[in-house]
């Protein structure tokens, strides 16, 4: 994870201020109905004001109202611009890199140099040491080490090769050795980078389903308030037919002020900033989302399916222990095992060499000096080993290692020994069963058909994963491990990793079935995978997170890509999804609760003069419970509060409300207390305070 950035960067602030003006364009404004309504009101009041001005009437009150109405629009734009700015800053450097990249396109076997942006799907491109990969693609020929730090922040280079599970390659990364040919898999504009950028730019951003629903709610409320305000003018008119001076209390600027105060401008102004900064936070965790919808869905995940290999475990079985047979020392066993593995280039073989070295300091010996004949692993014998004749006359050491079944066959076949009477073998068989039970794989080592002992191979669970799963459980997410292993092995790894459930001996279609079953039960399913055979499951899942290290097929099927290839990243994704919704909900509640205080500021201001007898105030001045000094200052205070609160809440919109994994009731109580009850009280204090200041300054 990158270090936490500063919330406000000077450059971003300046840029955002400029953008806020550009966003005054009606075409842009109309995307946000609530703020659009404010702008129309402000424009209407401005026009009337200039008409008045041209007739030589200047109203300081109207002027100030209009200024603050425009500030309201400007502040909302500013909130959005600043969120965009932060998101863009993140992706800007990547974009620059890519647009200036020159691609070496292969046309009829010779190279042509074209700008990367002109590449299309299925073009073939050559990349050599030092070249920047021009676009997302798949390696079709060759193998190369690639520096992906530009995207992942991880400095260690990774291997990308044709065929298999490591063929996908991302635009913007850099080849640091060798030469590869890449088939382009994305048109410009469709690459991950482009998708990422479009999620943090409001103009291109598609609203998420929940955002749409909330926008409908906010627009609906705004329409109600529009009718409230329009009809209020007629209601007041009814009461003073003939008295023109009373109509001043329902003048257009005042009615617009009331409308702007009532419609949910706080959440309306911050809505897109919340959405954009959510995507931005995701980027900050090195996760690319293909859509905002997926991020929202992540907050709802009930079940998380994880492929065992490569996600829960490191993926390779490693030697973890030597168990000698009676009469053999552990060191002797280790020595023999190492000898038998010297020429074994599989990860398992190498891990045996390493373990012997770590435990007993037995160094790898030079194969050629040993006068040894290596027996490579064959599918038929299921064994590998070495025949060593150290000196001319000395006895030949014939060492073999292999599975229990293979060794049994090997011993009983070439001699007439009865396996059942071989106590050493029976012993090792017992050990072997124990190892299997514990989730490991036993390999038996024999020398000259005498059983030396057992090597325990184990799939190693990634560090710290248990704690992360515990955290997921706290969030109410059930983890299910999927593995092709037998149930014994699966049980043990499941226990070690701390998953809630597992499916053993799973075929690829089992993953898909499990997801469909859970979905049929109404659950939201997340799936994390990396292999090509995970692709259908990733596509079926509500949230499919593909590891960046995975295949192109997997990355295309998922709706999120984790650039760090860290399966527990889901925790952050879920948190961000929940934060998004919580921030929206809380600010909506706050916004609506605010209206109560604004009513008590503006309604008495409008109606106080009704049935006022001479110097006595009208009966409805009783409603002025805040005791605001004059009707004008009351209205202006409400409008100023309404505008300023948007700016004050920008940091909250950008950071999101803190999520803690706890029950729904507890979260709800806290947020209701802060944003519901707080939303009722704060504006009373705020409006009163502004009124006091205004009165002191005497600007009304």
């Amino acid at each position: 994870m990158r270090e936490e950035r500063k919330l406000f960067d000077k450059k971003i602030l300046a840029e955002a201020a400029k953008d806020s003006f550009a966003k005054l364009n009606p075409k842009t404004l109309v995307r946000n109905p609530v703020i659009f309504m404010v702008a129309i009101g402000a424009a209407l009041a401005s026009i009337l004001f200039s008409v008045d001005l041209s007739r030589g009437n200047f109203s300081s009150f109207n002027f100030q109202i209009i200024v603050w109405l425009w500030f309201t629009v400007f502040f909302a734009n500013f909130a959005e611009a600043i969120a965009e700015g932060r998101g863009k800053a993140q992706s800007e450097s990547l974009r620059k890199q890519r647009t200036s990249t020159i691609a070496r396109k292969l046309v009829n076997d010779h190279e042509e140099k074209i700008p990367a942006v002109d590449l299309r799907i299925n073009d073939l491109v050559v990349c050599e040491t030092g070249d920047i990969i021009p676009a997302d693609g798949e390696v079709v020929k060759g193998i190369a080490s690639v520096d992906e730090s530009a995207i992942t922040g991880e400095s260690a280079p990774v291997i990308r090769e044709s065929g298999g599970d490591r063929s996908a390659i991302t635009g913007g990364t850099k080849v640091i050795s060798d030469k590869i040919i890449i088939r382009i898999t994305a048109n410009p504009g469709d690459t991950y980078l482009d998708k990422m950028i479009s999620l943090v730019e409001n103009a291109k951003r598609k609203k998420t389903p929940n955002e749409i629903a909330l926008s409908i709610l906010l627009s609906g409320l705004s329409i109600i308030f529009l009718f409230v305000v329009i009809t209020l003018r007629i209601f007041v008119q009814y009461h003073n037919s003939g008295d023109a001076s009373l109509l001043n209390s329902v003048s257009i600027p005042i009615l617009v002020s009331l409308l702007v105060c009532l419609i949910p401008t706080t959440i309306g102004g911050l809505l897109s900033a919340i959405g954009i900064s959510g995507m931005d936070r995701l980027l900050n965790h090195n996760v690319i989302a293909m859509s905002g919808r997926a991020v929202e869905a992540a907050g709802d995940i009930d079940v998380l399916l994880l492929d065992k290999t490569g996600t829960i475990t490191l993926g390779n079985r490693m030697a973890t222990e030597f168990v000698p047979a009676p009469g053999t020392t552990e060191k002797y066993l280790a020595d023999a095992a190492q000898l038998a593995s010297l020429a074994d280039e599989t990860p398992e073989g190498r891990s045996i060499v390493v373990l012997a070295k770590e435990k007993f300091g037995i160094r790898g010996r030079n194969i050629h000096e040993l006068n040894a004949r290596f027996i490579p692993f064959s599918a038929q014998s299921q064994m590998s080993g070495v025949d060593i004749q150290a000196a001319e006359n000395s006895e030949e050491r014939i060492i073999r290692k292999g599975s229990i079944d293979a060794i049994r066959k090997y011993i009983s076949e070439e001699s007439n020994l009865h396996i059942s009477s071989n106590s050493d073998f029976l012993f090792t068989q017992m050990i072997g069963v124990d190892i299997s039970l514990a989730g490991g794989t036993p390999l038996i080592v024999v020398e000259n058909k005498k059983v030396l002992g057992v090597i325990q191979l184990k799939d190693v669970v990634k560090g710290g994963i248990k704690e992360r799963f515990a955290q997921l459980r706290k969030m109410g997410i059930k983890t299910v491990m999927i593995t092709g292993d037998n149930p014994l092995t699966a049980t043990s790894i499941a226990a070690e990793a701390g998953v809630d459930d597992f499916i053993a001996e799973a075929k690829p279609e089992d993953k898909l079935k499990k997801i469909r079953d859970e979905q049929a039960n109404g659950k939201m399913v997340g799936m994390i995978g990396d292999g090509t055979n995970d692709a259908p499951a990733l596509a079926q899942a509500d949230v499919g997170i593909a590891m960046n290290s995975g295949t192109q097929a997997a990355r295309e099927a998922g709706n999120m890509i984790d650039l760090d290839s860290n399966p527990t990243k889901l925790i952050e994704v879920v948190e961000i999804g929940k934060q998004l919704l919580m921030t929206r909900g809380s600010l909506t509640t706050f916004s609506i609760a605010n209206d109560v205080a604004k009513y008590f500021a503006i309604i008495p201001a409008i109606t106080a003069a009704l049935y006022a007898a001479g110097p006595a105030k009208g009966p409805l001045s009783v409603l002025n419970i805040m005791n605001l000094s004059t009707p004008q200052s009351a209205i202006l205070s409400a409008v100023i509060f309404n505008a300023i609160i948007i700016i004050l809440l920008v940091p909250l919109a950008l950071k999101g409300i803190k999520y803690r994994p706890e029950g729904a009731e507890a979260i709800l109580k806290r947020n209701i207390l802060i944003y519901g009850i707080g939303g009722l009280i704060v504006p009373f204090a705020g409006i009163k305070l502004i009124d006091v200041v205004i009165t002191m300054l005497g600007i009304i």
Partner: protein, 564 residues
């Protein structure tokens, strides 16, 4: 102040309501689910005959569109029949007073009003409509409009219960079963008791008597008891006589008054438990019932306090103006609260004479959307709309996409919910504003100032909320008001029913999310409080300005000794 026996009677009222509602609700749920009940042995045969006669296929399931269209066409057909009956009244039998044909706009207004369960009456029953029209027209619609409302509530309940389905039941079957198993038996029972108390039930013509003062007076008669029973039970409220249940032949004794009052809320209260049983959550029903009861008690208590409070002008407390001495203040206020909370609209006192604050609560009860018990069926589906809103806002606050009883509440549901909440509110505000802006509207007002304003506001609130009660004072039998009120009623009824049905159509198709650690429980006290908050805030935000320049202004003026 009130007497102890009055208080005891109020307590009995609430205890009976709380005790009886769950049992009746459970029975109604059985009717909705088509299960056998204790009436089945008698009624199943009749039910089968009706299906056979009307060629209804009991196995046919309707999706929301077919169901809605069936309901709309059925209601339209009812309106046409009702208009024709009124227009041809003088040619039809059972018209002992030889009442003439009804004028067209009034006939349309009355037809719309009765088919939509509103029962707004711009006419006086005994001077306008014959026994025949009252019996075959109005009484029949009293049953059918109530059944229509309950049917819609069944549909939305089923939509929440059914997992990934399409069919929502069969409108004709729901209509027949509700009428046959619920409304008819209860009405017969109540009618008989009412007759025992002295409510008239006769075909004889009006009687002319000489009063003690020596004046001649016409005493109206008619088959009233049968119509009054369903008028109270089906939240219809349209009186047989002009002065509704304040008239001795419609509501003679304190006991009949008690029964009629309880009948107003009985079925709406029971339907909450029917809903709970259909969706399989008793606790859910208690939460909804609790919120309704709370709002009702608050409204009743505040109204009563206002009625008993000291009046500056008369230097006394407990004004009896507009109330019946048979019932007294407390029973008048309890009735006015019940009839406006439930969308009934029958009255036993004149709401125009209520103190401004009590009048305001009557208004607010209607304006909140007739969801405090509300009309039969309509009260509950209206309340569900507010639950959807609450679930949506509150659901976001816990960081999950909102769901209610496992069904996701998404953009589509929110869109229709907003429309259904918006339309009645707009009708109330906009139509009032229009009436205030034209002569045709202003000339009908009886009182000046805020009281006159309240008269108009109340009329359109009553129309949009399908309540049907009048503030009185306003002459609404004019071309302008007959038309505007008819329009308001139609929007208030179908502007909610269609959205609710659309939501049902969408919900029924959805999967049910199982309860998990992160699920927001909607049957908790906390949720009940939040739901109450949303109802009050949305309601208050919409209507506070209009109430401020109406009853609130009148109240403060009255304290200064200014009346209108």
């Amino acid at each position: 102040m009130f007497e102890l026996y009055e208080l005891i009677q109020v307590v009995i009222f609430f205890v009976l309501l709380i005790v009886v509602s769950p049992f009746l609700g459970s029975f109604i749920a059985n009717v909705a689910n088509g299960h056998k009940n204790f009436l089945s042995p008698v009624l199943t045969k009749i039910e089968q005959i009706i299906y056979k006669f009307c060629r209804i296929n009991p196995a046919e399931e309707m999706d929301w569109k077919v169901y809605t269209l069936s309901l709309l066409f059925f209601n339209l057909f009812g309106m046409i029949v009702l208009v024709l009956l009124q227009l041809l009244q003088s040619y039809l039998p059972l018209n002992p007073m030889n009442l003439p044909n009804v004028e067209l706009t009034l006939a349309i207004n009355t037809a719309i009003s009765f088919v939509t369960n509103t029962n707004w009456q711009s006419y006086g029953g005994e001077t306008t409509l014959s026994y025949f029209v009252q019996m075959t027209g109005l009484a029949v619609q009293n049953f059918l409009s109530a059944a229509s409302g309950i049917a819609v509530m069944f549909v939305i309940a089923r939509a929440i219960k059914i997992k990934k389905g399409n069919g929502l039941g069969n409108f004709w079957i729901d209509l027949v079963r509700i009428t046959l198993y619920v409304l008819l038996p209860l009405s017969i029972l109540l009618a008989i008791v009412l007759v025992s108390q002295g409510v008239v039930q006769t075909f004889s013509s009006y009687t002319e008597v000489t009063t003690l003062e020596g004046y001649k007076q016409m005493i109206p008669m008619g088959p009233a008891a049968s119509q009054i029973a369903i008028k109270q039970l089906g939240t219809n409220g349209g009186g047989f006589f002009n002065t509704n249940s304040s008239f001795p032949f419609e509501n003679p004794t304190p006991f009949s008054n008690f029964l009629e009052m309880l009948s107003i809320i009985l079925i709406p209260g029971a339907l909450v438990f029917a809903f709970g049983k259909i969706v399989g959550s008793k606790r859910q029903a208690w939460m909804i019932f609790g919120v309704m009861l709370f709002l009702f008690v608050i409204s009743f208590a505040c109204s009563a306090a206002a009625e008993y409070s000291h009046n500056n002008i008369f230097q006394t407390s407990g004004i009896m103006e507009g109330k019946e001495t048979r019932f007294g203040i407390l029973n008048s206020v309890l009735w006015s609260s019940a009839t406006t909370a439930a969308s009934n609209g029958s009255i036993n006192s004149m709401h125009s004479s209520l103190s401004p604050v009590a009048g305001m609560f009557a208004l607010l009860n209607i304006q909140l959307g007739e969801i405090i018990f509300g009309g039969v069926g309509s009260g509950l589906y209206g309340m569900l709309l507010f639950i959807f809103l609450t679930v949506f806002i509150v659901g976001l606050m816990i960081g999950r996409t909102p769901e209610y009883l496992g069904k996701k509440i998404e953009a589509y549901e929110i869109k229709w919910t907003i429309i259904a909440v918006l339309l009645p509110g707009i009708v109330i505000l906009l139509f009032t504003a229009i009436a205030l802006s034209v002569n045709a509207g202003l000339s009908s007002i009886a009182n000046k100032g805020p009281h006159g304003f309240s008269e108009i506001l109340y009329a359109f609130s009553s129309a949009a909320g399908n309540n049907g009660s009048a503030f009185a004072g306003l002459n609404t039998n004019t071309f302008f008001y007959n038309l505007m009120i008819s329009l308001g009623i139609l929007i208030g009824r179908y502007g909610v029913i269609i959205p609710v049905m659309a939501i049902a159509g969408s919900l029924v198709k959805k999967n049910i999310t199982p309860v998990s650690q992160g699920t927001l429980h909607t049957d908790s006290l906390l949720f009940g409080i939040l739901l109450t908050g949303v109802i009050l805030i949305v309601g208050a935000l919409t209507f506070f300005p209009s109430l401020a320049v109406g009853p609130i202004l009148e109240h403060f003026l009255m304290q200064r000794g200014i009346v209108f």
